[in-house]
Symmetry: C2
Subunit: 336 residues, 2 copies
DNA sequence: AACGCGTTTTGTAACGATTGAAATTTTTTG
DNA sequence: CAAAAAATTTCAATCGTTACAAAACGCGTT
């Protein structure tokens, strides 16, 4: 005997399963005493409704699946908080899975979620070239799907994103105004993460606007998004004149900063460093890191609102694109 | 929105659903021709098996649920990697949920997982006084349950933990040998996290062994486990003579370090700082942090092995307790 | 033609929960 | 006090799939 079912409760109280079902759903046709007796027994026996069964009957689970590319940063946590906030108030449950920036894991997790027949998926693709067919299949099956943060690129779907290009522009502008002339860009792979391309565009625009020459040698695309990738990028810049670095993420920026420090360069005097996708990581390193901080909670909220709208009204699928604001936070790493 | 079912195939080919089911499962009792005919039709009609129905039928999902207290540190990520490693090789899927150190969320997530009929639960309790009845109920229902990292305390269950007491002893011994005399302990609340008590015990033993006087004024229990709690603890120690701090986690240690730096104390010259539960956070701060690093991946692996054993052989429930080793890593924050 | 004996197919009851209709009990009413 | 009305409770079918038991079929033997 494993999970407690309504049958178990029915047997225990010697009533029919339908009475139990009705009682648990607060059906007014069940006498108050009976209802309370049943609800008490359910609680006592540790009954949890089985949405698998409900879903089989109705085709819905009142559950939303979320795929994040990583969950070891507070960034993801805040987005998820936003999602849960909205879902909770709309009586939806949330299950979360991380792809750890690995397309195979992403696929695997999507499979699990589909097995549980979740009502909708909020996803952040780890690589816009991977799993495209899977997402297309999800769309074909009319399972509501919303993307956030990363540009899904070759899939046409509703999404909640940040204006990467503009924000990157302002950040680089800040570096230029602080007197930096040779600003490097350490970006995620252009073929994998399209946001990296957009921030690169913003970077180029800022250079152009202020009449700085573009030096392709100080634009580096990293393999992954770990600290080590930031460090490796710095190594690649070794022989180039560089007085500022704009990194695609805070993680890359911090990796770069540590490597810079270890080779004796002062931050920000010798090299200013700025990141993106601010998390509290940015405040625990020294010097504290200048970064662009998307409104993560809001991003989660918007994504949840979108998916719930799609679930309750499937025809509203107009592939909305919501832009969430991001705050540029100036800190020590780019001062002076 | 309509899916093709085996019933549709049966109707189309004028055979029974059981024949279709068997044919699709390559049952040898179905004639080869029939089988091929059915499989061809299934393909042609775009049939996809409905896993919800299968789950309901078998009462198992081949999925394991994991509850972590937080997922915004790499610590959790590594444990999860270990769990996934084993589960993947044993053909189990994994779903993960974070309680964010909140007992209500912990309960909520446990409920969701049970609702989806996961085959077993790997959990790290956020507070050993909370949700006890829920876990007991889970055990009563014979849903396999394994704890890791945090001592579950008042629940008798298989668990994978670290020898907190011994490791704390060695770490404090290291501080003493480096000449520190007034070592503070910044611990998690003793009433909430039992590991905090164990590390405290190790701390006291080390003091005693080396004949140092115990000063209760420099033992602080924090509210939570955030950076800010580390900083607050330092404030509380303000008027006490302190030349070293042993913090319950790296996060607390880093929070303490930052506060110390901001009030002009040098680390490690004025105050040495050591943490616990090493993550790569410890290497990105400066000075780099001395810490105790449990073998996180291994911890996850062991927990997964335990739960899979329990699932496949429920009677093997002997409440095993596996101790995973932890490495003490000496870094700049306690040097000199 | 009837029998036996594999081979192949089908009927049916589950799995857990819901629900319209039917059956039962209780209450009201003439 | 019986019949009608109202209030409760139960029956039975359903969702997609599986599996046991039973039935039907084919084929060779007498």
């Amino acid at each position: 005997m494993k999970y407690v079912t309504i049958k178990d409760i029915a047997r225990e109280l010697v009533v029919s399963v339908s009475t139990v079902s009705r009682a648990l759903n607060n059906d007014p046709s069940i006498r108050k005493e009976t209802r309370e007796k049943i609800q008490a027994a359910a609680k006592r026996m540790g009954y949890v409704p089985n949405p698998v069964a409900t879903n089989l009957k109705f085709g819905r689970t009142k559950t939303i699946g979320v795929i994040v590319p990583e969950m070891s940063t507070p960034y993801a946590a805040k987005v998820i908080d936003g999602i849960q906030d909205i879902c909770y108030h709309n009586n939806y449950k949330v299950i979360i899975a991380s792809s750890s920036e690995d397309a195979d894991k992403e696929r695997e997790n999507l499979d699990i979620m589909m097995q549980f027949m979740i009502d909708g998926i909020i996803a952040c693709r780890c690589d816009y070239n991977k799993n495209t067919e899977l997402y297309e299949k999800i769309q074909e099956q009319h399972i509501p799907l919303v993307f956030y943060d990363r540009i899904p690129r070759n899939i046409d779907a509703p999404q909640v994103i940040v204006d990467d290009e503009t924000k990157a522009f302002f950040l680089v502008e800040h570096l230029i105004r602080a007197g930096r002339k040779n600003i490097a860009y350490i970006g995620a792979n252009f073929e994998t993460v399209y946001n990296s391309v957009l921030r690169y565009k913003g970077y180029r625009e800022a250079l152009q606007r202020y009449g700085l020459e573009y030096n392709p040698n100080i634009v580096v695309q990293t393999e992954g998004l770990h600290y080590s990738d930031g460090a490796t990028a710095v190594d690649k810049l070794r022989h180039e004149k560089t007085d500022a670095i704009f990194a695609f993420t805070d993680t890359l920026a911090i990796g770069a900063m540590n490597r810079l420090k270890s080779i004796g360069r002062n931050i920000p005097k010798d090299v200013a460093v700025a990141g993106f996708s601010g998390t509290n990581l940015a405040t625990i390193v020294s010097p504290q890191l200048t970064t662009v901080e998307p409104r993560q909670f809001e991003m989660g909220q918007k994504a949840a609102e979108l998916i719930i709208k799609l679930i309750s009204n499937p025809s509203s699928s107009n592939n909305e694109c919501i832009i969430v604001d991001a705050d540029i936070i100036y800190r020590e790493s780019t001062e002076g």
